[in-house]
């Protein structure tokens, strides 16, 4: 297969799973005729017809709720949020309905629902088209949260999410949609959920990251390699459940942890990663662990403001360099 973008990988996974399983169908705003605001669902209407991809009214609560209903009766709905920011309008259905359905029914039903869509900042989307909502959901038992950073993972993890029997929130970083490209195999099996991937091996400092900040971390690691600092980069890929064994392995190896994410600092996943490492791996640590994240404010519109707020390659490199020298 020729080189595919991250966006094409998403589209490919959707079509492959729809060909494989007639129970898989898509619902969302502007997904059918338009093919989605970002074209993630382009070509699906032509190939599969209007019973397999449904344009809905602007009704996020309905979308998630109807997904729960159809999934509970055996279908495998994929619900698109046009922008993941809009999940706030479907929050109750996701957190209180989808995540508790199995629990409230004593294990007597399953909810194979995928809620997917573009997340993240860095494209001047301003306050309501830039949000990173993962930390709203990574503390909700009953949900799974996935955030791929490569085209290969976008394809493999989305396939796994669709085949999974639990509600999965699938966060596609919109800045990666067209900027990330790689050669994909003709056939690709699902990537298991809940397993991190070592994106770069190293011995001096461990960077733990996911989603939109992976390319920044890899670029920073490359830069530091030229300075003689050997950085390891762990891509979490799945945020709930989180692969703490992999975090423990890399921290055990380097003794130095830098958690990086595009989401805000306070209440972000980096805090949880650091807390767990400090609690469980104190004796392994050779330096106080650190975080590089967005600043604790909204993601603003003007390019200068946005750049000020978001984590940068420079900040990541500086933090990793500091840890290495500690």
């Amino acid at each position: 297969m020729p080189v595919a973008t991250y966006l094409q990988a998403v589209n490919l996974a959707l079509k492959e799973e729809m060909r494989r399983d007639p129970d898989v169908f898509v619902m969302g705003e502007d997904v059918a005729v338009l093919g989605g605001a970002f074209k993630a669902t382009e070509g699906i209407l032509d190939e599969f017809g209007p019973d397999r991809i449904i344009d809905t009214p602007i009704s996020e609560a309905l979308l998630v709720g109807a997904g729960v209903g159809a999934a509970s009766l055996g279908l495998r709905p994929i619900v698109e949020m046009q922008f993941m920011d809009f999940i706030s309008c479907g929050f109750d259905q996701l957190v209180n309905m989808a995540a508790t359905a199995r629990y409230r029914h004593g294990g007597g039903l399953r909810v194979p629902l995928v809620v997917r869509g573009p997340t993240g900042a860095g494209v001047h989307g301003a306050l309501f088209h830039s949000q990173d909502p993962e930390a709203w959901f990574t503390r909700v038992p009953g949900l799974k949260v996935v955030a791929p950073a490569t085209a290969r993972d976008a394809r493999g993890l989305l396939k796994a999410a669709i085949r999974d029997d639990d509600p999965v929130i699938f966060l596609e970083h919109k800045r990666l949609y067209r900027s990330v490209k790689e050669a994909l195999p003709d056939e690709q099996e699902p990537e298991p959920l809940g397993v991190a991937r070592l994106a770069r091996g190293g011995s001096d400092v461990s960077i733990v990251t996911y989603g939109g900040t992976l390319p920044l971390c890899l670029a920073a690691a490359e830069r530091l390699a030229a300075e003689g600092v050997d950085v390891e980069v762990l891509d979490l890929r799945t945020l709930l459940p989180m692969d703490f064994a992999a975090i423990a392995r890399t921290v055990g190896k380097t003794g130095k942890l830098l958690a990086v994410h595009e989401d805000r600092r306070t209440g972000g996943l980096g805090g949880e990663i650091l807390a767990r490492v400090v609690e469980d791996l104190w004796d392994e640590l050779d330096a106080p662990p650190r975080r590089v994240t967005a600043k604790d404010t909204h993601t603003p519109f003007a390019p200068t403001l946005e750049a000020f707020v978001l984590p940068s390659e420079d900040e990541i490199a500086d933090a990793a360099r500091g840890l290495a020298a500690y």
């Binding site: 209180n96 629990y103 007597g108 639990d166 064994a245």
Partner: protein, 329 residues
């Protein structure tokens, strides 16, 4: 109706004995709605009951013992002690349990109805909500979608005139919730929710329409909540006159009059029913009281259908083995 009323009486008694912890929400006075709306449903039709709709569970065939165990928070309950009162379901009987966010099951019912439509299955989804929940956005989104796709769904509004303490006059500027159906391209029907015969007739029309591909219906059943919002609520915000007026419309004597007018020996029916009801409720209480209490670690069970991937053991100290079941962190 007799069964649900006796069942609730027994719950109240257990509540007074401090055997029921948590909220107790009575459907007393509203029994004809849950019972009448489910009387003509098949096992494959899916119902989304409210917290007062004990009759939905009973008519759909959920075991009374498991219901009582559910209310007592026992292992033998529908949610195995996980959630309280009627926040549970039994999908094997076509009952999908609701949450405390009233009206939130209507979008879910649309998803069930969408499945029936996409698969050309002759079944119906029935979702109950109160006039209180009719103010919520979920209800609007669901009805709008059901109208657009002409889904086989019946929305049943149990208008008992109060959302907790708030009277209908402070909830909406119209008399009939059913009027709103027009805005969604569906029929709205109003009936007395205290008259089982009227509920059966009205629901029959809605079900026929749904099964014949005629799309959704909004059925509004006018009724009255005899008890407070919950057993803790003395409901002093209501007038004596109002209570008295509605007490003359009790659905059970009303149904007996209906039977009598059709030549049935009501005294005999009553004797037979009462004996059966007492037996069923006694057995349900016995089952529930004998059912064990969950011990604690079951709180981790039933969260996920697919076991979470447990990554291979780390090379570091053994302390970092993930603790099964690995929930979040």
């Amino acid at each position: 109706m007799k069964l649900t009323r006796e069942f609730e009486e027994r719950i109240s008694r257990l509540h007074l004995q401090n055997k029921v912890f948590g909220g107790v929400y009575s459907g007393r006075g509203q029994e004809a709605i849950a019972v009448g709306c489910c009387a003509d449903l098949g096992p494959q039709d899916v119902v989304f009951p409210l917290h007062r709709d004990l009759g939905v569970f009973v008519v759909k065939g959920v075991e009374p013992g498991r219901l009582m165990a559910q209310i007592l928070g026992k292992e033998g309950g529908l949610s195995r002690g996980k959630d309280s009162f009627l926040h549970a379901g039994d999908l094997s009987k076509g009952v999908f349990g609701g949450t405390s966010m009233l009206g939130a099951t209507l979008p879910v019912a649309c998803g069930a109805a969408l499945k029936f439509k996409l698969r050309h299955e002759p079944y119906v989804a029935v979702a109950f909500f109160g006039e209180g929940a009719s103010s919520r956005g979920d209800v609007h989104e669901a009805m709008n979608f059901a109208g657009v796709h002409q889904l086989p769904v019946v929305f049943v509004c149990e208008n008992n005139r109060y959302a907790y303490s708030t009277p209908q006059s402070l909830q909406m500027a119209v008399e009939d919730v059913a009027e709103r159906a027009a805005g969604y391209g569906m029929k709205g029907l109003v009936c007395s929710g205290n008259d089982l015969a009227a509920v059966l007739e009205t629901m029959g029309r809605a079900l026929r329409r749904a099964r014949d591909g005629g799309g959704p219906t909004l059925v509004e059943c006018k009724t009255y909540r005899y008890r407070g919002h919950s057993e803790h609520d003395p409901a002093r915000y209501r007038t004596e006159e109002e209570l008295l007026e509605w007490s003359t419309r009790d659905p059970i004597p009303r149904w007996e009059l209906y039977l009598e007018a059709r030549g049935r020996d009501v005294a005999k029916v009553r004797r037979e029913t009462e004996a059966e009801v007492t037996r069923v409720v006694d057995e349900a209480v016995a089952f529930a009281e004998a059912s064990p209490e969950p011990e604690g670690p079951e709180a981790f069970e039933d969260l996920y259908a697919t076991p979470l991937a447990v990554p291979e053991a780390p090379e570091g100290p053994a302390a970092f083995e993930p603790e099964p079941p690995q929930l979040t962190h």
